[in-house]
């Protein structure tokens, strides 16, 4: 199949970017979207041009490193998928595809399609953990968790931190990402001791990183590769209000 690509090229954080046109012919529809970009880059290198920089690593939908806007949709048209798991069979022969980086104030562009998502790491660092040191944990069976609770916690813990939720949100909000971690921890007995401090610190860090507020459009859930539910955001709000009510960070 043949494709016309319009790709955002930007030399570095300071430079202005622009869309550049590329044509690719004779592609196999079983190719993944990233393999299509590999093919383009091979062509650019041989022709003496600089290849397009894009983020990727595992290419099996779990590391969360790939991500770009494809025809205005985070990770492209297929629901609940990462860019690496999107294949050309989802496009028509001869189609024009617009490819841009994730756009959000908290995710500055580094080069071409690569963005800086380290804000997510700082949110986790502010409280997205159980404070347990290595080596002397109690026997695992001493902390029973019902099957349903473990499954529910897993549904939240499955977030891959790709940033599609932020990129697709008109406010650039990190509410889905942050709330998924807060829910994961709040549901489990291990995480309950720090629940107040955790939610207050993580929400505060979201603001510091210049993420926008959630206005409940639910676009994040629609574009999330893992199908993380917006109910996590409701839980985060509940946890936040609960923490404010008790007005203490410790317990």
């Amino acid at each position: 199949m043949d494709l016309h690509l319009k790709i955002w090229r930007q030399k570095d954080k300071q430079s202005e970017g622009k869309l550049v046109n590329y044509d690719l012919k004779g592609l196999n529809s079983h190719m993944s979207f990233l393999e299509m970009l590999d093919t383009l880059n091979e062509k650019l290198i041989v022709e003496g041009d600089e290849p397009v920089e894009f983020d990727h690593d595992c290419r099996e939908g779990i590391c969360g490193q790939c991500g770009m806007m494809i025809n205005g949709i985070a990770h492209g048209p297929l629901k609940n998928t990462t860019t690496c798991q999107l294949h050309l069979r989802s496009f028509k022969d001869g189609e024009t595809i617009l490819i841009e980086p994730f756009r959000a104030e908290a995710f500055p562009v580094k080069k071409d399609l690569k963005v800086d998502r380290s804000a997510f790491d700082r949110i986790i660092s502010s409280g997205g953990f159980v404070s347990v040191n290595t080596g002397q944990a109690p026997d695992a069976t001493a902390i029973p968790v019902t099957h349903q609770t473990a499954e529910e916690a897993f549904d939240s813990a499955a977030c891959i931190g790709c940033g599609a939720c932020v990129a697709t949100c008109k406010n650039g909000s990190a509410a889905l990402f942050t709330s998924a971690k807060i829910s994961h921890m709040a549901l489990l007995p291990q995480g309950k001791e720090e629940r107040n401090k955790r939610v207050l610190d993580m929400v505060s860090q979201m603001d510091t990183e210049l993420f926008g507020h959630c206005s409940n459009t639910e676009a994040c859930e629609v574009e999330c590769p893992q199908g993380i539910s917006v109910l996590n955001i409701a839980r985060m709000n509940f946890e936040y209000n609960r923490a404010l009510f008790f007005n203490k960070k410790g317990g």
């Binding site: 290419r59 099996e60 779990i62 294949h87 069979r89 986790i124 347990v132 695992a140 069976t141 897993f154």
Partner: protein, 638 residues
């Protein structure tokens, strides 16, 4: 050179306890005087960086990804082993030790394997305390499933994303320390050289992948937890960025490489569909709990799988290995698939796959139950192939997966360079030739959480009077200049072929001649061809862009330059081992019915290799293996 494995004295069950009792300690007040570098932030790297940060050392952690949470441990699907015996089916530390040693075809140290089984109990406790949502029974207790090569249920799992959840636990522990300031994080930094001063590891040279800047970092000890080099085959189950450069650069500075040719080939990945393909996606081995593997009974079968009646199917694993059936260990399952494919019974458009069929399990347990157990794997299969595995069997094929070779380490996980430690897949792996499923997450985790915190402290106890290591030392300058020169050399070639062309060509050579099966003529041929390809690379590669900016092509070029040398050593290693053993299958050494023929009389040792210079032949150093607790037996899964 004589390799000292430093196995502690005493009975097997008490060796680790004895070591811990005798290991030197560092006073909390002195820990902040000691600097530690950790390269890699997967399960082994994150857990050791977090552990040492908690203890009060100054830790710098480096990874090439944009976040430590992306490390390839994230992709491990099936589970992690621990001898908890929660199922009351007769499991124990001793039984896990025996299974693992046997699964590794008796090419591992008894003491190390026993310690791994022993520490497995703590790992599950640690992970649960961190909030890892393992699968649970309805009563609230932890659930288990069984994995290839064992007859008990000792595998703990978090659906098909166990690696992700364990990694997130370790990553969160790491980020907690980053928040506290005890660990400094350097993401998007790649180690390009090891710096040694007076024979000891004292620092690293890294390239900031965002800016292209070359930086020096000094420390009292350097820990490499950089994962494996299976991506050398280009097509593999590994992430695109996985590479062997850090351990290879350390090898060239004096660290011995052990068992480099022992690459585990995983039986259940998706088959290759075309030349453009960049990776082979793994489908968890746990699927073999409910899936039956078969090929058509007649060659060149063109009917759709559901049109082939039961009596015209060959369930070859059940036929050849009735005791273990579809749960036969990875090397056996992979080789059995290759044998059927090579004999003309392969299926799929390229006739390079076998079927993994869930129809019986769906009929017996219902689709919902199968969906609960493996739902995400079925969805992944649908996304990649476009086929619905609830309706027709999956197509699977063997592919390069886990490198059991790596830097040689002693019982303390220290390499032959004092002060340089290697953890997880970066070392040559305790469990030898062909580790069993769900042991790799375990090994990486226990290295980082429970072993290295003791052994590194034991080393650092003698370093408290050393004082700050200066990055201005001439050794740093020399290493930095060498790195800068290499980058300049690669940029200056300005040839006509891309880096990927060379990587793919090397990968195919290795797959054909040093892959699932090898022979003497093929290995000799491969060594010559790799040398020719390397020469061509240095004459004709084209690295676009600049050396001093973000440049993914330059990153790849440096890694492929190292792969030529690693590939050559893999072939040397395979050539010198005249036996078939675990992951290593030399075609000349097999029984009449095609099973591996081990040679304990001559090859019961670990092959460790020393670098002898750019054009020198690698030098083999042997570490003999002795078995006191159990005597090696022929491995039979029939």
């Amino acid at each position: 050179m004589i390799l000292d494995s430093k196995i502690p004295q005493g009975p097997l069950e008490q060796k680790w306890a004895y070591y811990k009792k005798k290991a030197k300690l560092v006073n909390p007040a002195n820990r902040k005087k000691l600097d530690v570098i950790v390269v890699g932030t997967g399960l082994a790297g994150s857990s050791i960086a977090a552990s040492l940060g908690e203890m009060g050392y100054n830790v710098k952690a480096f990874c090439f990804q944009d976040s430590p949470r992306r490390a390839h441990s994230v992709a491990a699907q099936g589970g992690v082993n621990a001898a908890k015996n929660y199922k009351n089916d007769g499991d124990s530390v001793y039984r896990m030790f025996v299974d693992t040693l046997k699964g590794g075809d008796f090419r591992a140290r008894e003491a190390n394997v026993y310690r791994m089984a022993e520490c497995s109990l703590n790992l599950i406790d640690q992970a649960v305390a961190q909030g890892v949502p393992f699968g649970r029974e309805y009563g609230g207790y932890l659930n288990n499933r069984s994995f290839g090569g064992v007859q008990v249920s000792r595998t703990f799992y978090a659906r098909g994303q166990t690696g992700q959840q364990l990694l997130l636990g370790a990553y969160q522990a790491l980020m907690r320390q980053v928040g506290k300031g005890s660990v400094q994080l350097f993401s998007r930094h790649e180690m390009l050289d090891l710096v040694t001063i007076d024979g000891k590891a004292r620092g690293i040279i890294v390239r900031n992948l965002d800016t292209g800047d070359i930086e020096r970092h000094a420390a009292h000890t350097v820990i490499l937890a950089t994962g494996g080099y299976g991506k050398i085959y280009y097509l593999s189950t590994l992430a695109m960025g996985c590479n062997g450069s850090a351990i290879w650069r350390a090898h060239k500075k004096g660290a011995l490489m052990a068992s480099p040719s022992w690459i585990q080939v995983h039986p259940t990945s998706l088959p290759q569909s075309g030349d453009y393909q960049s990776k082979l996606t793994l489908m968890s081995e746990s699927l073999r709990n409910d899936g039956r593997i078969w090929v058509p009974a007649k060659q060149d079968e063109n009917r759709a799988p559901n049109d082939i009646p039961e009596n015209e199917r060959d369930y070859y694993l059940e036929r050849r290995y009735p005791a273990f059936g579809n749960l036969a260990p990875r090397d056996i399952s992979s080789r059995a698939a290759k044998e059927r494919i090579d004999a003309g019974f392969g299926i799929g458009p390229l006739k390079n796959a076998v079927y993994l069929d869930f129809s019986k399990a769906i009929k017996e347990q219902g689709k919902d139950k199968i969906k609960e157990k493996y739902g995400n794997l079925f969805e992944m299969y649908l996304k990649i192939t476009g086929y619905d595995a609830y309706k027709e069997p999956m197509m699977i094929s063997p592919s390069a997966h886990f490198s059991m070779g790596g830097l040689w380490v002693d019982y303390e996980l220290m390499t032959t360079v004092p002060g340089l430690f290697a953890l997880g897949e970066a070392n040559f792996a305790d469990h030898g030739a062909n580790r069993l499923g769900a042991n790799s997450l375990l090994q990486a985790s226990v290295d980082g959480y429970f072993i290295a915190p003791y052994t590194i402290a034991n080393y650092l106890a003698d370093e408290i009077h050393t004082g700050k290591i200066s990055p201005d030392a001439p050794e740093f300058e020399q290493a930095e200049n060498a790195v800068k020169n290499q980058i300049q050399d690669l940029m200056n070639i300005k040839g006509t072929k891309t880096v990927d062309y060379f990587h793919k060509t090397l990968g195919k050579l290795l797959y054909d001649y040093c892959g699932l099966a090898r022979n003497e003529d093929g290995l000799k041929y491969a060594i010559q061809e790799i040398r020719k390809l390397k020469q061509e690379f240095y004459k004709d590669v084209r690295v676009s862009g600049q050396g001093n900016t973000m440049n993914a092509e330059l990153e790849k070029a440096g890694r492929v330059a190292d792969y030529f040398e690693i590939g050559e050593l893999m072939c040397y290693d395979a050539l010198t081992r005249n036996e078939s053993c675990g992951a290593h299958f030399r075609e000349e050494y097999q029984t009449p019915d095609g099973e591996a023929m081990r040679n304990d009389a001559e090859y019961q040792f670990i092959s460790a290799w020393a670098w002898t210079g750019e054009n020198g032949e690698p030098e083999l150093v042997k570490e003999p293996l002795t078995f006191e607790e159990i005597q090696p037996t022929v491995r039979s899964y029939k």
